[in-house]
Amino acid sequence: MNAHSATLRSKEEIMEKLMKPEVITGSEMLLRSLVLEGAECVFGYPGGAVLFIYDAMHGFSDFNHLLTRHEQGAIHAADGYARASGKVGVCIATSGPGATNLVTGIATAYMDSVPLVVITGNVATSFIGTDAFQEADITGITMPITKHSYLVRKVEDLPRIIHEAFHIANTGRKGPVLVDIPKDVSAQTALFQPVKEVNIRGYNPTVHPNKLQVEKMLKAITEAERPVILAGGGVVYSGGHEELLEFVTKSDIPITTTLLGLGAYPSGNELWMGMPGMHGTYTANTAIQSADLLINIGARFDDRVTMKLQGFAPKAKIVHIDIDPAEIGKNVPTDIPIVGDIKTVLQLANKDVKRADHADAWRKQVQAWKQEQPLRYVDSNEELKPQWVIEMIHEATKGEAIVTTDVGQHQMWAAQYYKFNQPRSWITSGGLGTMGFGFPSAIGAQMACPDRVVVSINGDGGMQMCAQELAICAINNIPVKVAIINNQVLGMVRQWQEIIYDNRYSHIDLAGSPDFVKLAEAYGVKGFRATNKEEANAAWEEALKHPGPAVVEFVVRKGENVYPMVTQGNTIDSMILGDAE
């Protein structure tokens, strides 16, 4: 796919060269350190304060550098790379505006616990604090949205800081770490010695759970009559999906997976109830509200899952397993707290977990709900329905694609109608809800997984927030398949204005958007348009067959709403179920 990868030198050659202590510049230290941490693809955008770094990258081929067209594209791509691969995503930007353009992407990664190392340049140390050209206090600006940050003051510290940054980003509750490097530091020289150990006194995440607490959970399972498992992104991030499958199979407990947990458990399995929350399934929401035991595995009881907190899972004993102790009891009072790495906790639990034997009637009830109240929409042969488009994409990719989305209605439809069977195949901005994320994150995912089909599902609104990255798809032949679900409106806002604001539609009309086919072609990307099922099938097939990137615009019905829907201030069992045929 990418011609660069062939020119990369063998791992051993690189390591041998890099481990040698040598007097080099801060910029060279940075590059060496990144390679030693396993960076294979870095997304970035040069500028004044990082020119020494980019100078050191001249002719450098030990990792790929992808020049995006906006820093925001770079960080979302790094995010997609991290989510698809499980490795740390890396991006580089210059000081001032370069750094501030990363802010949305940093917050996105922070909210969804995605490991990133974000490198920014800054003005030289002697200029810091003088309102120098392109100076911004980026460590200060990003303090609330980074797991940790460093301002490198001495070139000697750089190897240690980079090593710590990767360690912090990718252990415990993962998250973005920012390393701000003043220009003079990147130019100074010092003896480079690779750092192998980390010794951070204030940082020691709990991996192994308290066994007594795990035993309490296992006992609660054997006593429960209406148990429910709520699994979240933590399962995916810890690599605990196989352990989760074993746990669910052994305990025979119905499971719902949150937006970020989609793919953590195979959606085809009988015990899976779909997604819970604001646009969750009838079965998942009703089951949570009826449960006498709710086992939260790696989810954070986000308000889009719980909706009205008072009255959430009112009858349930709550078990909460999380790597981050601060999540336990933050929103929902917890009866059995278990702090630890999800995979490790489940491995321990799987040794002794017994089937929930008192829950036979419950399992039947759950299946009955699934039969009676499946996800549904009214299909049409005259116009394209967005839900149908997602189902079509699912079928055409056999459910095996990596799907990234933007934010809004198409995101919820993708979550509902694309059925995931494996982890790290679903990339979406859940916590921050970042429009503009969908497309560039797909580029990162494709760089991480060159052999997989990567589909980016976007709305006509969000697509225009980072469309410029079509350029790097075309130039580097990154074969992302972009679906634009075009309803000519900011659909989710329209839905809220219809239901909550009494049909007062205010500033949501996207008519006059560019011709997306021509837009794609302007960048040198293949473009297709479909307005009915026949065209949709044909266009999508063509797009998948095409060896390079492709954009397919699906012109869909404007007034379609996402159902079920729980409006704010209500508990999750008061759902608007939507239209029946």
Binding site: T139, G140, M143, P144, I200, G202, Y203, P325, A326, G329
Partner: protein, 161 residues
């Protein structure tokens, strides 16, 4: 709403005060006072923070503080017998005729006069928050020109726990 006094041992790094105070601000935790200084260990500083909130808030404060990489240890001092002290400097109007009366108050509080101006006295008082509040109340009638309090620093008693 209870008052809690917590001690936070932190790396003495640039920006660490901003990390801690920023955390309180963005999570909606209240800071009544905050003091920082070096600790018994080189490279580490101890912050003493007085905050108000219920037990749930205190638990969240503690857990969120621990998430900061530069935070080494968090201790809820007020959960145990502790000594809490602050220092106040009070510049009070003191024409020569009023001085004997003010000195009487100062003596009673075991405070000290640390500066004398032509029409003012500067009083230094050390004690727990209540004592300083009381001192301030007693000096108010004379006219307080300026008041500066350090905030509470505190420590668990030697035989606690």
């Amino acid at each position: 709403m209870k008052k809690h006094t917590i001690a936070v041992l932190v790396n003495n790094q640039p920006g660490v005060l901003q990390r801690v105070s920023g955390l309180f601000g963005r999570r909606g935790f209240n800071i009544e006072s905050i003091t920082v200084g070096t600790s018994e260990e080189p490279g580490l500083s101890r912050m003493v923070i007085v905050t108000t909130g219920d037990d749930h808030t205190l638990e969240q404060v503690t857990k969120q503080l621990y998430k900061l990489i530069d935070v080494i240890k968090v201790v809820d001092l007020s959960a145990n017998p502790m000594v809490g002290r602050e220092l106040a400097l009070i510049k009070v109007n003191a024409e020569p005729t009023a001085r004997p009366e003010i000195l009487g108050v100062v003596d009673t509080f075991r405070a000290a006069v640390v500066d004398i101006g032509t029409s003012t006295l500067m009083v230094q008082v050390v004690g727990d928050t209540e004592k300083i509040d009381a001192m301030v109340e007693l000096l108010k009638p004379y006219g307080i020109r300026e008041l500066s309090r350090t905030g509470v620093t505190a420590m668990m008693r030697g035989n606690a726990k």
